[in-house]
Amino acid sequence: MGKQILFDKIKVPGIKTYEVYRREGGYASVEKALKTMTPDEVVTEVKNSQLKGRGGAGFPMGMKWSFIDKKSGNPRYLVCNADESEPGTFKDRFLMEYIPHLLIEGMITGSYALEANRSYIYIRGEYMWIYKILENAIKEAYAAGWLGKNILGTGYDLDLYVHVGAGAYICGEETALIESLEGKRGNPRIKPPFPAISGLWANPTVVNNVESISNVPWIVNNSGAEYAKIGTEKSTGTKLISASGHIKKPGVYEIELGITVYDFINSDEYCGGMLDEHPIKALVPGGSSVPILPAHLIYKTANGDDRLMSYESMSDGGFATGSMIGSGGFIVYNDTTCIVRNTWNFARFYHHESCGQCSPCREGTGWLEKVLHRIETGHGREEDIDLLWDIQRKIEGNTICPLGDAAAWPVAAAIRHFRDEFEYHVRFPEKIKNRDHYVAEPFEKVKHLVSGQLT
């Protein structure tokens, strides 16, 4: 069993409640920080931990904290991004549902570090029951004196609230989240200015993922240097991985960064191997936005090294032969999966979730979906494959926010690694007319039909 930071206490009966959480040593970091450390010392510890933001982009959390404008004297806010909506990702939900006080403790310590007196947890509307769990836990924390005026007699005041969203993936983008928190449509803002300078109500704001903030108590209790000893040199600490798809034991696992992908998928401690012993066909390692990996690049990188569960190894080879660890949404596909259908599914998702503000994303995501749907339903043309490639290329990098890139990358990777499947769909429409076309006849068995034509 690897090092457990977030899940260390998760199996303790009643850890959901304040009493048990406190008895198990909860809220110690608040005591330590407020009584013995300056806010900047807390920031330094987080910096030393080298923790990369766990929401998907992997931006160093301590650095983000150090950017916040404390000089202007404007009120500052810490906002927790609990709008977990990236397909394949369901880790934050698990943390908040089963150990809600960990996040609240992290929010208090974090807010102290940023010298914020008002903080919010923005949770997606579909997690309605967790919203209620968090509201309840916050009430408990107020009652026990961890929130409110003059916390622990130190003179530090903090109010913490949960704000509920209402169904929009785009609100996971930090500026869209801020807009939504202001009661508006979730249209991402144009950057600069960055939230650290002008965020919520035009005041300095830091937006961090649930998992990132939940690591703060441990870092404060044990020091950033200790945290940095866990994991690999460049990927410090542990990471929650949401494993799903065709594996025996889907679920949320806390791993020490740096274990091999092979072990993660096949060991009984984690995914427990492939479902029904079907062979692995593809892997989306970090949520739907990241490039999909074909079987031969899952366990080994292009130059033959073991592929590890770490930021650097997962992206080894760039987009040509690598991917990204992203949000840790780990989706495993076996040979019954149709890559074209799955790519269409993702494209439909991004089409549905585009805010519609900027033209490449608004028009491009819909176009991608329509072309992919045509190919998947047997109405594709040979030139559609190049058309798809061209559309995604024209969206990527040209949009206001990263949703455009997120919509483009899965299409690009699918064509890059599985072009023959697209050709098969175009050339043999009668063979793919049922939606489960690869269940009875996996692509491996019919591959010769397209490769034969190519040679």
């Binding site: 977990e84 909506s85 990236e86 397909p87 394949g88 990702t89 369901f90 939900r93 997606r124 509307g125 579909e126 997690y127 309605m128 029951w129 209620k132 509201e135 309840n136 009430k139 408990e140 609230y161 704000h163 509920v164 969203g165 209402a166 169904g167 929009a168 993936y169 939504s180 928190l181 202001e182 009661g183 508006k184 449509r185 979730g186 109500w201 949401s242 494993a243 799903s244 798809g245 065709h246 889907p250 679920g251 949320v252 989306v284 739907s288 949404g329 989706i331 596909y333 019954t336 999966t337 259908r341 799955n342 599914n345 993702f346 439909r348 998702f349 549905h352 979730e353 805010c355 939606r435």
Partner: protein, 179 residues
């Protein structure tokens, strides 16, 4: 785009108003608009899970904002309904993991069983089926949202049972914390 208008009885009860005031207290006094999303959830909950133009106007009045600001927000987010809907809304996740674990077959099965297409309400007003995008339950696929909570690891048998439970009034759409 012209929108069809539906009639709705509006009733902002004292309890609802109390809850709205509590939500408003979460934001600075001059930032009432910020409470819009949470307030809409509670108002919708108290009005058969949908929002008419009149009801949205009422919310605008309470939050001291323009009606159009409410319409814009309501139409942006998928969880607000702008027409009367079935009491038990089965919202099936259709995204990748659920799709690879057979949600499409289950949706067909449920539609056939209830005799409706996606987005239609059964004649008794009890059920409605929708396909939605990723709900963050990929490891527990296939799944659907029903009220405040999720129904996960679905099978045909489970769906049969859920439908029976709904008909018998055994399903509580609202999640209660014990605190």
């Amino acid at each position: 785009m012209e929108r069809k208008q539906y009639k709705q009885e509006i009733n902002i009860t004292p309890q609802l108003m109390e809850r709205i005031n509590e939500l408003l207290s979460h934001y600075p006094a001059d930032k009432k608009k910020s409470a819009l999303l949470p307030v809409l959830h509670d108002v919708q909950d108290a009005h058969d899970n949908w929002l008419s133009i009149e009801l949205m106007d009422k919310v605008a009045e309470i939050l001291e904002i323009k009606p159009i600001e409410v319409y814009e927000v309501v139409s942006f987010y998928t969880m607000y309904n702008q027409r009367p809907i079935g009491k038990y809304m089965f919202e099936f996740c259709q995204t990748s993991c659920c799709a690879t674990r057979g949600v499409e077959d289950l949706m067909d099965y449920t539609c056939n069983k209830l005799g409706v297409k996606l987005g239609e309400t059964t004649t008794d007003g009890l059920f409605e089926i929708r396909g939605v995008e990723c709900l963050g339950a990929c490891g527990y696929a296939p799944m659907m949202q029903l009220g405040d909570t999720y129904q996960e690891h679905l099978t045909k048998e489970k769906i049969d049972q859920i439908i029976e439970d709904c008909k018998d009034g055994k399903i509580n759409l609202h999640y209660q914390t014990n605190g």
